[in-house]
């Protein structure tokens, strides 16, 4: 079981970007969700981002909205998410959680951080927690040895990126575009510019996410970033599959394609 820093260092040693794959916990069920994440890892995903399904995912497009609606209807609670984290950590992959803030606050900030660490989770991505509101979270994650991943956006000023980086650990999540999660045919030109600006302001590894869905795009992003994050594209493979076997095959196929992409960075 390694840390985020070790996962990024290992990828760097292999002259490639780290591959981060997202699926919501409990989608379509707890057990099948765990199997899908294990399939991702077996096919080359380094870091699994376990989504905590939330009723009001205002940063997510239609694919992830549909997935978390399914997960919530299947009875996915925060405890199910933590069980999923433990199962992913058992595969040897680095397990993160991606959660909107309210479920963490309602679970209890300290309690959530303690249970995450106990489950073998390494860090948490909080897309709607701003540094100004993160005081208790910084304390709880520090006390429990968890990394805190915050996002930077193309609209972030340099001063703002500095503030974000000052509370971030593990890696900085650079949003490739202004918008919600989901695939686009081309990666926004804003992404390389944002990564360049982030690099001049922090030594943290920089991973790019939002709108990456193919091996070719992964190779493109791997050319300038330390990590490639793919979420909605995995969700679509599951949504479009006729059955669980089909979903496993689809997730494996995409993870294989992306893993090849991050190993063939296209130098800009």
């Amino acid at each position: 079981m390694s840390t985020l820093a070790e996962a990024f260092a290992r990828a760097r040693d292999e002259n490639r970007a780290a591959l981060i794959g997202y699926l919501p916990a409990g989608f379509p069920t707890k057990e099948q969700g765990i199997e899908l994440m294990a399939a991702m890892v077996a096919a080359g995903v380094d870091i699994v981002e376990v989504g905590l399904p939330y009723s009001d995912p205002l940063m997510d497009g239609p694919d992830i909205q549909a997935a978390v609606t399914t997960a919530l209807a299947a009875g996915t609670t925060t405890d199910v998410v933590l069980d999923t984290v433990a199962a992913v950590a058992d595969t040897g992959a680095v397990a993160l959680v991606m959660s909107y803030w309210n479920p963490i606050e309602q679970y209890g900030v300290d309690r959530f951080a303690e249970r995450m660490a106990a489950a073998g989770g390494r860090g948490v991505i909080t897309p709607d927690l701003t540094p100004e509101e993160a005081g208790d979270w910084v304390a709880a994650t520090t006390a429990n040895g968890l990394d805190r991943v915050f996002l930077a956006a193309p609209s972030s000023t340099d001063a703002r990126i500095g503030v974000i980086a000052s509370v971030t650990s593990g890696f900085l999540y650079a949003a490739s575009k202004m918008g919600v999660t989901g695939g686009r045919t081309a990666i926004s030109s804003a992404a390389p510019d944002l990564v360049k600006r982030c690099r001049s302001l922090t030594d943290l590894p920089i991973a790019v996410g939002i709108g990456i869905s193919t091996g070719e795009q992964a190779a493109e992003v791997a050319g300038y970033a330390d990590g490639v994050i793919v979420g909605a594209a995995f969700v679509r493979r599951v949504l479009n599959a006729p059955d669980h076997a089909g979903a496993l095959a689809g997730v494996t196929e995409l993870a294989t394609e992306l893993a090849a992409g991050v190993r063939n960075p296209r130098i800009p």
Binding site: L58, N102, I104, P127, D128, T130, E132, E133, L151, A153
Partner: protein, 419 residues
């Protein structure tokens, strides 16, 4: 810093990050931070710029029709324990509700920021209509997000928005009501923020929205205070307002916050009864959490998942509430009570029959509150009620509720389940 009657800091105090005590703040994707910072700076610059404030006052007078009258409701007062009841007539504003006050201010800010498109969420449709109106007036593109359920129960307002040139997008996600319309408007805004301003319709959302929307609605309380002093020679004993997000209530409460003798009473939707779970009573049955960018009272399950709300009134059908109300609640400066659908509709009918005024069903919750208050305070009491909107949009719902025979006249589909 001013203090309230208990000697603690005045509840309206705000820190630099937009907190009302522990409530408010900003919980948003980073992509919106720059836009919120820009909005905050423009708002602060505009309200000390005579060109902006003069233009706003002109629009309020010449376009909205301000000041709105204060109407003594003598016959309705008889049903309120004989108390002297006054109605602040926001229903007589252009577009039929208080919503226009905020929208004109934000539309002027949109022009000032050089943006060419506005988006809005709407529940009852009043805010959507007001935004579409201001957009037409100022030559802005306008898109309004409205829960599919609400487009059905407020069909008249959908037609009004379309006539005004707005695009109305029915939202089919989640509970298909106001909460989901806000999610969808936020998603639009994250994507289009460079050219679009999100005209949030109430005192919720990330800073600076609660403070800014409050500012544009304070005209209600300023006028009402002056008007009631002129008629009664004294302050009212109580001020009653309905509270969905809570903008009309904040607007009228503001002028009386520092007057400990004036009770501030907010009425939230009790729906079919708080005990049934089908209601929108955040204070009676919710707890502090984060929704739509702010920390505030939220209807939620033990895991922090937002619970669906319910009310006969689309405008009160929201599981969150403005953060300043949460602070007023916790400090005890204002008190909040649920009014269920039945009690609201009784007050609705009472005002129609005693005063010849058809109120919005939202405002009927405040009227029901006044009926309770009057019985509590007695015939010497002076009660100020914010009549936040008119009821034209609600005739189909009301007709269905009261079982009226409309002989095949189509007034739009009313919500199911009501006799």
């Amino acid at each position: 810093m001013s203090t309230d009657s208990t000697g603690s800091p005045a509840p309206r105090s705000l820190d630099e990050h937009g907190h009302f005590g522990p409530f408010g703040g900003r919980f948003v994707p980073e992509a919106l931070t720059a836009a919120l910072d820009e909005l905050d700076a423009e708002f602060r610059a505009a309200i000390v710029d005579p060109e902006f404030t003069t233009r706003l006052v002109q629009l309020e007078r010449d376009y909205t029709g301000r000041p709105s009258p204060l109407t003594p409701a003598l016959r309705f007062g008889e049903l309120c324990g004989g108390a002297r009841v006054y109605l602040k007539r926001e229903d007589l504003n252009h577009t039929g509700s208080h919503k226009i006050n905020n929208v004109l201010g934000q539309a002027l800010l949109t022009v000032r920021m050089g943006k060419e498109r506005v988006i809005a969420e709407t529940g009852a449709g009043q805010h959507g209509v007001a935004t579409a109106t201001a957009a037409a007036l100022m030559g802005l593109e306008c898109t309004v997000y409205m829960g599919e359920e609400d487009t059905r129960r407020q069909a008249l307002n959908v037609a009004r928005m379309k006539l005004l040139g707005a695009e109305v997008i029915p939202v089919t996600a989640g509970s298909r009501t106001l909460k989901d319309a806000i999610n969808e408007a936020m998603r639009d805004w994250v994507t289009t923020v460079e050219r679009t301003h999100y005209v949030l319709g109430t005192v919720t959302g990330p800073a600076p929205f609660p403070e800014m929307v409050r500012y544009f609605h304070q005209v209600i309380g300023r006028e009402a205070r002056e008007q009631i002093l002129a008629v009664e020679g004294r302050l009212p004993d109580a001020v009653a307002a309905c509270v969905g997000g809570g903008s009309n209530a904040i607007g009228i409460f503001g002028a009386f916050l520092d007057e400990p003798s004036v009770q501030l009473r907010g009425y939230e939707a009790g729906g079919e009864g708080v005990e049934t779970g089908r209601h929108a009573s955040r204070f009676a049955a919710g707890r502090p959490g984060v929704l739509h960018g702010a920390r505030t009272y939220v209807m939620q399950d033990e895991w922090g998942q937002t619970l669906p709300s319910h009310s006969i009134s689309a405008g009160l059908d929201y599981p969150g509430v403005g953060p300043e109300h949460s602070w007023l609640h916790d400090t005890g400066r204002a008190t909040y009570e649920p009014i269920d659908d039945r009690e609201a509709m009784e007050a609705f009918a009472a005002l129609c029959r005693t005063e010849g005024i058809i109120p919005a069903i939202e405002s009927a919750h405040a009227l029901a509150g006044a009926m309770r208050l009057g019985r509590e305070l007695g015939p010497d009491a002076v009660i100020l009620v914010n009549l936040s909107g008119r009821g034209d949009k609600d005739v189909a719902t009301a007709a269905a509720w009261f079982g009226m025979d409309l002989e095949g006249h189509d007034l739009g589909r009313a919500p199911g389940g009501q006799a």
